[in-house]
Assembly symmetry: C2
Homo-oligomer: 433 residues x 2
């Protein structure tokens, strides 16, 4: 038996605001950060589970406080008992009867749940000596369904429907697994178009992306429409008419504004418009989607839980599902959304970038392709090239595709020296110059 | 000029779980608590602004951390500059570009925003030497509209529409104010039906409520349908066929379950069914509302922001709007929801109980009646009799109605000795016996 004996939460921040990497219309100077969890166990071989939730700098300490509040629910449990009842464990974390008041299933407490839940999955995968995606691929449809809390989504997908989706794909899992090991998962790059970059830098980065073999690039929009049009023209000039161009407004528009602004951007043939308005506005997204068809709406990085995704699917509000591995309450809830997306026929293109998100979501997209959707049509996985050097098992990109990770775990373990260097506020990186 | 020089946040918890006051189907043993804010100023007369956000015990420390994270936005500002641009101040608090990631406008960071924003309003009302409701009643329609951030709700209500609603009611404000001062605002009681109470206690409390002149009582449901039916029968027997009976499921049902269970409860003629399912499920509430009509759906205490309420109105999902004064981001966002409710013709019956919520919402309902809705039809304000003794200006109930408060401020200032006694974990109330 492997018992969890401690939960440690750390505040780790990278000073990305100094270069405006990651800047967008809503977040002009983020410091990419993480509330980072380490689960220690009572087995002798230094086996640990690691997980994190991504943040933008200030506020990381709030997520750390939330992880500490959840910790007593995990401490003392055995990994075996958790694995035997993943649904129950998830509900114990997300439904704690006093803590749920400050959510429920949203905000700091849900971000903290994600870090903790993913750390448990990391621990499990390390125990199994497999990369997390492979742990999932080796689970039976029944085992996978037993990880999911269907509360509040039964009206969109029943456990029996989820099982049927997984069973349909089970006989052919092996061939898709072989394909992924051979070719990897297709990616797109967001590194070219941060809003804080000059036109010259934007143009240079587009050329670099084309030379690097990228078939999809994403740019930020939403500061003002004239700038958006000028920048979109530069990008389209550089990438040509065939490569795909995604646009990301990071929630700055109202519903009517989004529809009006898209009229100016349609000439640049956007593949999708991402986060055109409030992430909470299911009906607003549906209105936008109807108005701008056939351009598709994408959202998800700020969608708090499976209940919001359920409604986005039910209302035909999105053409792409951009779930986030640590905005949702960790992997268990991600599984729920993957299965709903499959039922509603919506491709899942997870949100990545930040710090650690690429590391997380490669496992999710591999599993989705192998065991849930069975398709690569309209599936591309976000890639941003910052901050991978801090991870022990960083993502590998080859010819614009994610190479399937092989090391045991969820790929989210940071280098000890990075944790020390960037710990906030005590690490050397944060000492006054 | 009055400058804010410090923001202090305290963790105050009342051990209500020891008596199961406040128990419901989702929260079986809450400790009613508050993350409590004090704004100090540089004026000499000890003028302070007080505010709180309500919590259930564990997790209060997370809201305290969130208030501390927001504090630098308020410190150093003058009250005059804030009052001159209430909308800008609200957006500065709720849109802080790093902190918004852990919301946006939801969870711990939004609860903290509410405490801070309401503390500013308390300070302002104390400066004006008026109860808060009277400060609002004395503001012009233009001034009130200028407090509201219309971002994300422009498609449901424009500033011009909001202005028109307020202007229509302005000429007759004085007569409704006189009526409120004379008769108070109608209340209902939730104190009879907590889920942890025995049948005998339930029956005794119903008799007491009838004797006390209450015309509306609310009971908790949702633990299991047989118990719900038995308890509903007891309540209906005691209150007779004319008094109104509300039922509150506290989010325990799925959409289908809610519809099925309501079929068993309809014989007891519920006035509304409150929180039948997830507070995030706009479409689910709309489905339930269609299925159980003419019984009406009520929700709101867990509705995170104006965007969720907008959709509940747009989708015809609720018959009663139960906004919460510190779940929404404080009074500015409450004003937005009051005006949308007026436009859509939905009565507002704010959530109260907890600790301090009755103190808060009396001001909101008085203002709503006097300046926004102009109607008492289907408006009743929740009342729960616990914990008022901790406030300097506690609510007063007379003949089942809230008496309009007269003391300057938002009525939320706690007694210093209560703050000391119940501060967690250092106060005497929390010391091991």
């Amino acid at each position: 038996m492997t018992r969890i004996v401690s939960v440690t939460a750390r505040d780790v921040r990278f000073p990305t605001s100094r270069t405006l990497d990651g800047s967008d219309a809503m977040h002009t100077a983020p410091d990419y950060s993480a509330a980072y969890v380490v689960l220690k166990t009572d087995v002798g071989d230094h086996l640990e589970g690691h997980g994190l939730t991504f943040t933008l700098g200030r506020g990381t300490e709030i997520c750390v406080a939330a992880i500490n509040a959840l910790a007593p629910i995990a401490i003392g449990r055995t990994l075996e008992s958790i694995v035997a009842d993943m649904r129950g464990f998830w509900r114990a974390i997300t439904g704690e009867e006093q803590l749920r008041w400050i959510g429920p299933e949203k905000g700091a407490i849900h971000l903290a749940s994600a870090a903790l839940v993913n750390a448990v999955w990391d621990l499990y995968a390390k125990m199994e000596r497999k990369p997390l995606w492979k742990v999932l691929v080796d689970m039976s449809p029944e085992q996978l369904v037993s990880c999911i809390d269907f509360r509040y989504i039964n009206d969109a997908i029943t456990p029996a429907e989820a099982l049927a989706i997984l069973e349909r794909m089970a006989p052919t899992r092996a061939e898709r697994e072989a394909e992924m090991l051979r070719s990897g998962f297709p990616a797109y790059t967001t590194s070219v178009g941060w809003l804080g970059y000059s036109d010259e830098k934007l143009r240079a980065l587009c050329r670099q992306a084309v030379a690097g073999g990228w078939s999809h690039v994403k740019m930020k929009v939403g500061q003002n429409i004239e700038d958006d049009v000028r920048r979109a023209r530069i990008v389209r000039e550089e990438i040509g008419p065939v490569r795909r161009l995604m646009m990301d407004a990071n929630q700055v528009w109202d519903v009517g504004e989004a529809i009006a602004n898209l009229k100016h951007l349609v000439e640049f043939d956007p593949y999708w418009i991402e986060e055109p308005t409030s992430p909470d506005d299911v009906l607003g997204h549906a209105t936008i989607a109807r108005a701008i068809s056939p351009i598709k709406v994408a959202t998800g990085e700020h969608c708090q839980n499976r209940v919001i995704f359920k409604q986005l699917f039910q209302a035909n509000a999105i053409g792409f599902c951009q779930l986030d591995a640590c905005r949702l309450g960790g992997l268990n809830e991600v599984l729920a959304v993957l299965l709903m997306a499959a039922k509603f026929g919506i491709p899942v293109c997870p949100h990545a970038g930040g710090v650690g998100l690429c590391e997380y979501v490669q496992h999710i997209s591999l599993f989705d392709f192998i065991a849930v959707s069975g398709s690569l049509d309209n599936r591309v996985l976000e890639y941003v090239e910052h901050l991978h050097e801090h991870f022990l098992d960083p993502v590998k990109i080859q010819d614009g595709r994610y190479v399937a990770p092989q090391a045991p775990g969820f790929s989210i373990t940071m280098r000890p020296e990075s944790l020390r260097e960037f710990e906030y506020p005590t690490g050397p990186a944060w000492r006054p110059a």
